[in-house]
């Protein structure tokens, strides 16, 4: 990253870190003429969403069953950040601009196209992406993939389109909702009741997609929810990098994001799933992501959580096949008014499986960070190895940072290591660097930059301009 702006110091000598500049994302378009379903959650609304999409009967049945589970299921009383400000009776679960899905940006309605232009998506597509899906509120408004990628047999479309295609409807039915069951938790059930939009990706065996695919989710409507479903199947020996970005303008009423991501990484395959989440500070981000990984396969998560008012986000990896591996690299930045409960879960089920988790978090201006993880080593996971590292930086005394890592080991040949540290920038470190000729400000800048760098370098900056913008704002304007 260039043009590093060093942080300033406050009266107690702390590195003063600027707020994330959200002006790039905080713009609104009129909802005039949009189709918006009534607030709340009823069987009629669920039927209306299903009918709108012309789905097969089994999907409507699944939705209604999920609605029932949602109403019956309670939230665990001892769970994370408070979400009492979220009232589903005042959330619309379906909002659509009524635009037909386009394959050319010129066919996208002007205001929506302008939104994605400002977010840099078309430019990123031209420069470095193999395909792009853009969702605006509840529906995908743009979807396209490079011809040469399509020719290799890669399918990148919406779940709705896949369901309408006789070739893929059976595949969706076989995989949809199997990895994340609807009774997983209350908001998983909600998701299945009202899901809309998202992506279906199928990479045939042995195919390597050289450039990433990217889906971008924009929630423009106020008091609405976004419930996209992402289903990715990477067949044996195939390779894919998928990027997910999301943002929303800020409103004074609560918005909800309860998406679901199901990833199937077959034997010998590799999937890298990168996410930059920059929801506005009125957003409840209660997202569920899960991957199952076959023998000799590899799952890589890169996760940046910068926005939202409250987050529950714990991507889960099930290392089912022997010799499968998982890497999770994450950074979370919590500022004023944010309570972000993030982390990951890894289940090591196969022999010789390996997992590596490396996370960083920064708390400032009263922001609350909670790192939460679970590493579970099963009875049959002979010689499994897992290491978890979690580092948290506190930038003032009104913020908070907690780490809650759980380990459950049931195999006597496995090795699990964990390390965590919380603190502020050490005066000794600053003194050491100053004794080597750095000014105090340079030293502090170097330490903060170095703290975030191991994670930020993993972010796919070269692939998405939107992410470039965000990380620049975070790492340059903010962290140094």
């Amino acid at each position: 990253m260039s043009d590093v702006i060093p942080p300033t110091l406050d009266e107690r000598g702390r590195s003063k870190v600027a707020d994330v500049d959200r002006s790039l994302y905080d713009f609104k378009m009129s909802e005039e003429g949009y189709e918006r379903y009534a607030d709340g959650l009823t069987p009629d609304i669920v039927r209306a969403i299903s009918g709108k999409k012309g789905e097969p009967a089994w999907m409507l049945e699944l939705r209604l069953k999920a609605l029932d589970v949602y109403h019956r299921r309670d939230m665990a009383p001892n769970w994370g950040p408070d979400i009492s400000g979220l009232d589903l009776d005042h959330i619309s679960t379906y909002v659509s601009a009524g635009a037909a899905q386009a394959r050319d940006w010129d066919d996208v309605p002007t205001d929506i196209k302008d939104t994605f232009e400002r977010l840099g998506i078309p430019e990123a597509e031209r420069k470095s992406l193999a395909g792009v899906g853009a969702q605006y509120d509840s529906e995908i408004v743009y979807h396209n993939m490079r011809e040469e990628v399509a020719k290799s047999g890669v399918v990148y479309t919406t779940i709705e389109d896949a369901l309408r295609d006789p070739q893929w409807e059976g595949v969706v039915r076989a995989y949809f909702g199997k990895l994340i069951p609807m009774d997983d938790h209350k908001f998983a059930a909600l998701h299945y009741a009202v899901w809309s939009g998202g992506s279906f990706v199928f990479v045939p065996a042995g195919v390597r997609v050289d450039y990433p695919l990217q889906s971008y989710f924009r929630l423009n409507a106020s008091g609405a929810g976004q419930f996209e479903h992402t289903l990715i199947i990477v067949e044996e020996g195939a390779d894919l990098h998928f990027i997910e970005g999301c943002s929303a303008p800020k409103y004074y009423e609560a918005n909800l994001h309860a998406g679901a991501v199901e990833l199937y990484v077959k034997d010998g395959a590799r999937l890298r799933y990168s996410t930059i989440e920059n929801w506005s500070k009125n957003m409840y981000n209660l997202n569920t992501k899960r991957a199952t990984v076959g023998a000799d396969a590899k799952m890589e998560w890169v996760s940046g959580s910068f926005g939202s008012h409250v987050s529950y986000l714990y991507p889960t990896t099930i290392l089912a096949g022997a010799n499968s591996t998982c890497e999770f690299t994450g950074i979370t930045f919590a500022g004023a008014g944010q309570d972000l409960d993030t982390g990951c879960k890894v289940v090591l089920g196969g022999a010789n499986t390996a997992a590596s988790v490396d996370t960083k978090s920064i708390s400032k201006d009263g922001g609350v960070n909670t790192f939460r993880s679970a590493v579970v080593v099963g009875r049959r996971a002979d010689h499994a190895r897992a290491s978890v590292s979690c580092q948290s930086l506190m930038l003032d005394d009104i913020s908070r940072s907690d780490t809650i890592p759980a380990m459950d080991v049931r195999n006597n040949t496995a090795a699990v290591g964990h390390e965590a540290s919380i603190g502020r920038i050490s005066n000794d470190t600053i003194l050491y660097l100053m004794s080597r000729g750095c000014s105090e400000q340079e030293a502090r800048s170097m330490v903060v930059n170095g703290f975030a760098n191991p994670v930020s370098k993993e972010l796919p900056l070269e692939y998405a301009v939107e992410m470039n913008n965000l990380i620049k704002l975070e790492m340059e304007g903010a962290i140094g």
């Binding site: 665990a76 930038l395 913020s399 759980a406 459950d408 006597n412 090795a415 919380i422 502020r424």
Partner: protein, 372 residues
């Protein structure tokens, strides 16, 4: 206590911050005898002990208070050094339940020994609850030994409130029991207060060991060092929750926790929940955990020196009992550890341990003689 009618104690050993319930790591549940009806009870510990958190939770604390015959209160006067350790002994074979309060006054120095032991094979239920207030400048050493057989269910709580400039050195040994719930909470409320905790545990067979350590660092410039080492064999199940809570205002405080677990048995379940809660920026909190078995390279090294894998593991197990006996503050603690070692490691090893200890005890005197 005899298990006449039973009651289920839920929410035992609940840590301040919890995680996914499906992991079944957030709390323990114990079936204990229903406390006898005692009518109006007035002889309780002084009210100031009510404010001392003990790690086992409210329901379990109430159960001990209701089940114990009487509460025992000991006070160590200010600026005195109590030579003989305060012994709090629970004979689990008899199903005893003890409720004890210790007040270590300003500048005083004392040692408290908690010994819960059993050698019989009766299905008994016992408990030991000790709450300690350690005033400004006091020095407290605690030696805690739980050495029971695989038919005994035991609940043990320890709460310590630590005042300004006071220090607590605690060695905790969990050496066996059918189901043992061991809670501990230390409140470093005074500035510059200190805690050093060394925990050693051993569990085998189908034993269940559930440990909850909570350390609140409230005062400024406090220190907490928690280190746990353990060995699990057969189908033993162990849960260790360790929480360091760096409370707002605890500036310049440091908290460290670490755990090393040697997993030997094929049926072992090891659960660890090391938590750091941080509401202050001018602090340091660190955690490290290592869970696994002896590496192939290390075993090869030992084999080259004539030690089989079994012999190597036996040595590791012996080390836990060795440590308990070496650091025993009272003969009752040493006897309890030795009795359990005899049961687990065999009479020959136990005799060897005992002889080595006697030899070691002679050493300082011999050294003194040599100096003279």
């Amino acid at each position: 206590m005899d298990a006449g009618s039973c009651t289920t104690l839920e929410h035992v050993n609940v840590p301040p911050a919890q995680t996914w319930n499906y992991l079944k790591i957030n709390e323990a549940t114990l079936r204990m005898p229903t406390p006898p009806a005692k009518g109006e009870v007035t002889s309780r510990l002084p009210r100031l002990f009510c404010a001392v958190e003990d790690g086992i939770g409210e329901a379990a604390t109430r159960w001990v208070e209701d089940s114990a015959g009487d509460a025992r209160y000991i006070e160590v006067p200010r600026h005195t050094r109590r030579e003989e350790p305060i012994l709090v002994e629970v004979d689990a074979d008899e199903g005893q339940v003890a409720d004890t309060g210790v007040l270590v006054r300003e500048g005083a120095e004392a040692t408290v020994a908690l010994v819960s032991h059993a050698t019989g094979d009766g299905r008994t239920h016992s408990a030991n609850l000790v709450r300690i207030i350690c005033e400004r400048g006091a020095r407290l050493t605690v030696n805690e030994v739980v050495a029971l057989g695989n038919t005994h269910t035991h609940l043990e709580g320890l709460g310590i409130q630590v005042g300004e400039d006071a220090t607590v050195t605690l060695r905790q040994y969990a050496l066996g029991g059918h189901q043992v719930a061991l809670g501990m909470a230390v409140d470093l409320v005074g500035d510059r207060s200190r805690l050093e905790l060394e925990t050693r545990y051993f569990a085998n067979g189908e034993e269940l060991l559930d440990v909850n350590h909570v350390v609140r660092q409230r005062g400024r410039d406090t220190r907490a060092d928690l280190h746990a080492h353990g060995l699990l064999d057969d189908a033993a199940q162990k849960t260790l929750r360790e929480t360091i809570d760096l409370v707002h205002g605890a500036s310049r405080s440091k908290g460290n926790e670490s755990e090393t677990v040697l997993v030997v048995g094929e049926g072992v379940t090891n659960k660890t929940l090391p938590v750091i809660l941080c509401d202050e920026d001018d602090v340091q909190g660190n955690h490290g955990a290592s869970i696994g078995s002896v590496g192939a390279d290390q075993l090869a090294y030992l084999a080259a020196r004539g030690l089989s894998e079994e012999a190597a593991f036996a040595l590791f197990a012996r080390a836990v009992f060795d440590d308990a006996m070496i650091h025993a503050a009272v003969s009752e603690a040493r006897a309890a550890a030795l009795a359990r070692a005899t049961e687990v490691l065999g009479a020959d090893v136990a005799r060897d341990l005992s002889e080595a200890l006697e030899l070691g005890q002679d050493s300082p005197a011999e050294r003194d003689d040599a100096t003279c």
